[in-house]
Amino acid sequence: MRSCVLSVFLFHRGEGFSGLFLLAVASVTLNYVKEAEIKRINKELANIRSKFKGDKALDGYSKKKYVCKLLFIFLLGHDIDFGHMEAVNLLSSNRYTEKQIGYLFISVLVNSNSELIRLINNAIKNDLASRNPTFMGLALHCIASVGSREMAEAFAGEIPKVLVAGDTMDSVKQSAALCLLRLYRTSPDLVPMGDWTSRVVHLLNDQHLGVVTAATSLITTLAQKNPEEFKTSVSLAVSRLSRIVTSASTDLQDYTYYFVPAPWLSVKLLRLLQCYPPPEDPAVRGRLTECLETILNKAQEPPKSKKVQHSNAKNAVLFEAISLIIHHDSEPNLLVRACNQLGQFLQHRETNLRYLALESMCTLASSEFSHEAVKTHIETVINALKTERDVSVRQRAVDLLYAMCDRSNAPQIVAEMLSYLETADYSIREEIVLKVAILAEKYAVDYTWYVDTILNLIRIAGDYVSEEVWYRVIQIVINRDDVQGYAAKTVFEALQAPACHENLVKVGGYILGEFGNLIAGDPRSSPLIQFNLLHSKFHLCSVPTRALLLSTYIKFVNLFPEVKPTIQDVLRSDSQLRNADVELQQRAVEYLRLSTVASTDILATVLEEMPPFPERESSILAKLKKKKGPSTVTDLEDTKRERSVDVNGGPEPAPASTSAMSTPSPSADLLGLGAAPPAPAGPPPSSGGGGLLVDVFSDSASVVAPLAPGSEDNFARFVCKNNGGGLLFFNREMMCVKKWFLFLLGRMFIFYGNKTSTQFLNFTPTLICSDELQPNILGFITKPVDPTVEGGAQVQQVVNIECVSDFTEAPVLNIQFRYGGTFQNVSVQLPITLNKFFQPTEMASQDFFQRWKQLSNPQQEVQNIFKAKHPMDTEVTKAKIIGFGSALLEEVDPNPANFVGAGIIHTKTTQIGCLLRLEPNLQAQMYRLTLRTSKEAVSQRLCELLSAQF
């Protein structure tokens, strides 16, 4: 873009390749210059190729020159497909410059060509044995850069010897230590511990601080995996650290950086100590405490230099010392001093320091010793939220407010976060919404406050309120009867606003449908007024919300018989009954029918109030963890627990996956409410075709098959139905329907109807899970039904379903009863398939293909080519893919005729990302379906299930 660079450059020296350099320097995007560059490079490449192929053997200097040019061309961004052999030849040269270029070429253009690797390894072996420190250094740096498994196989045994040999030069020792570290990282199995380990630990005492610097990195990494083996490093590290921090600023000469003695080594030693619990030996422990106190004291001394380098180096050590103090979490005095120091930094003029102080304080907030001290800085942190210019600093302030929140300051913090939310950056709004929702729930003493807060959230940032959040408020209202009346009143009032967010309509619709009766006594919120209010929003809403409102209406029919005619009129209108959307149309038809034919008893049963949700980890917390990564969500209990594991169980890093972890700690009770959000669908028993209700009330059913008739067909029918209801099976005597709400936890409502006029006796439904010992899918019957079912009666049973891991066989419902002297035994497989645990994931084309590529391992892909069994209709196919549970990604596949989808299978133990692609071939009436997931069995199962649908 800056062609002026060219003119500067023309006067610059260049030894023969100035033409190339010229083009390199000019970062010109003008096309003709770009073309000229390519032309020039092609010419140069042809020239080099001819030199390499020429009859005349090239001397070392020329070979080096051309290999160097090739490397240069590669670094400009052009592909290089030759010259590797010449580079390897350079390795055996005795001239440093030639060898260096050869090694550099190999390091930059790693080639896994096995033949070359053998030659390269051979050259490295020779250089390692040469006793020439320069050559040894080059060879070690090459191994450290490439670090391949082949190299580990060849040299992992040799390098420890070089490292601990008495006559090895210091600079070679430094390189050898880090080279070994690289091999250990790539192939730990090839680096066996041995006699050398104790000698490596003693390198912490080495006179040469460069050797100590390199060795500390090696020991830290090894100690993380082999804590016992390297335990002795603790006392050595403490005494080394002590000597550094107490030295005068000139003692360490070369290693003093802007008056700070060996800052990087100090940081490394402090990190090494974080692999271990506080030292047991009181002398060592005392000495370490002294060191940490000295570091804290130095922070209070006047600076020895005004340069930022001085303060950065000094504070690098200080922050690492604070990390160690937090890691030990055992010295209240140090923790409080650390907190005070960070408090000063919160108001520092350097943005970097304010940022780091907020970050570090976040971890201090979770220590019981410093939690109170952290809380004293609340005003400063709130101020940071309002004034910081860098969004990442504000983000840290939000994190810290979240971490320091407890019952005493929750109202203030939640209020501040809400007010910040009005102006917050779009990039962090969703996260703040989640945090507010969690805090409001966790610290709610008064649930009216909680309801107000969530409604405020929706008002301020409705677009960022995810499903988890509004599902959650509904779960809580359903589970706590003391707040239901207030919630109904509040949503009713909030809905009065002329423009309210759709999420509010959803919450309002749901809550009024369940608890509208609690405020119906007030003439200002009479049933008709409630209905009219909701219906005034209906036409502005999207299809899912309208579907939810239709369910509210049918619930109103049950709650308020006086509005039944009004609602029936609405349902009967063409805009409902003939709605173009299948779901809406179906609901309107079925609800209308239900309201017409069902008796009040049946209505009351079918439209009963939602039962309480099971207590589970909050889906919001799970979402926040998912969003931020488990390590960054600071939850006091979680952190404490992880930390204590850390101290007792060695330096294993904190558990990585917590999204599936339930939180059984006492204060998390409320967070632990069910993870199953109610599906937006209301609770009518049927959407599987209007015929069902006819079956219930007429005698025309003529199916006689006694045992699980057409169970298989039924099974397939449910695969692509999202959370709908439907008929499981029926026969002359009985029928059984199901209805479910599924997400992480499934819940199925099973209605058993006795269609005869005779009693059923000893009526016992039981659930049989496929593999009793280690079931991957669990079903629980929540409460047994009465063993006697009167003629014409209907009983309901709730079954909770939990997906532990991916599964193929669904639980079987076995029903036994006596009817008119005969024993009846019916088994039916519950229509639960793996895809029911799908959560759709939207992503852009680029992301899709990136992930697609990542899952290219043959075991991860399953493909099926099959003939279409149904007419190949695009809209139907789309509906099936969405019904299957995955997101349908538009404009992702370059071929618009293809369908691609993505989603995550949520199981209790893991989450499995799934990508799918369906390619129809209209002419051949065939499909090709490809599934890619991280688990073979999952790909296989999903492919089977989905293939059967087309």
Binding site: T97, A214, W264, V267
Partner: protein, 156 residues
């Protein structure tokens, strides 16, 4: 395991002047990282911190993305020196490691400029290897590094 993932030197136009990788990335990932770093770093000014957390493209294997890398950068005239490390690494230590490195380059090339890095790319790699190896800080003493560099230069 915390360590440097890569070191990048870029100019304001986004041209890479040095790229040293300490982790396996394929060519596409490298290109994407280079572009991402350029995009996030060049929009920041003096009121911003010298640290940027990025969502890794290399880790996109899991559908869930975690913030696991951060870029620590410092601008010198038209050049951005960037080090990518683990989120748990010590920000200020790497920030000063950049400066230490730049002071060595400045001394070695006698007032280093962008062109020195272009012309002498193979020497710059040597300087990097003396100071950082296998993603770790290898040597921090400017005196020792320069002494070694002069010794190697004498072999040319």
């Amino acid at each position: 395991m915390e360590h440097i993932r890569f070191i990048l030197i870029q100019n304001r136009a986004g041209k890479t002047r040095l790229a040293k990788w300490y982790m396996q990335f394929d060519d596409d990932e490298k290109q994407k990282l280079i572009e991402e770093v350029h995009a996030v770093v060049t929009v920041r000014d003096a009121k911003h911190t010298n640290f940027v957390e990025v969502i890794s493209v290399a880790d996109s294997l899991s559908v869930l993305q975690f913030r696991n890398f951060k870029i620590i950068y410092r601008r010198y005239a038209g050049l951005y020196f960037c080090i990518c490390v683990d989120v748990n690494d010590n920000n200020l230590a790497y920030l000063e490691a950049i400066h230490n490195f730049v002071e060595v380059l400045n001394e070695y090339f006698h007032n280093v400029c962008e062109l020195d890095l272009v012309f002498n790319f193979y020497k710059v790699y040597t300087v990097v290897d003396e100071m950082f190896l296998a993603g770790e800080i290898r040597e921090t003493s400017q005196t020792k590094v320069l002494k070694q560099l002069l010794m190697l230069q004498s072999l040319e």
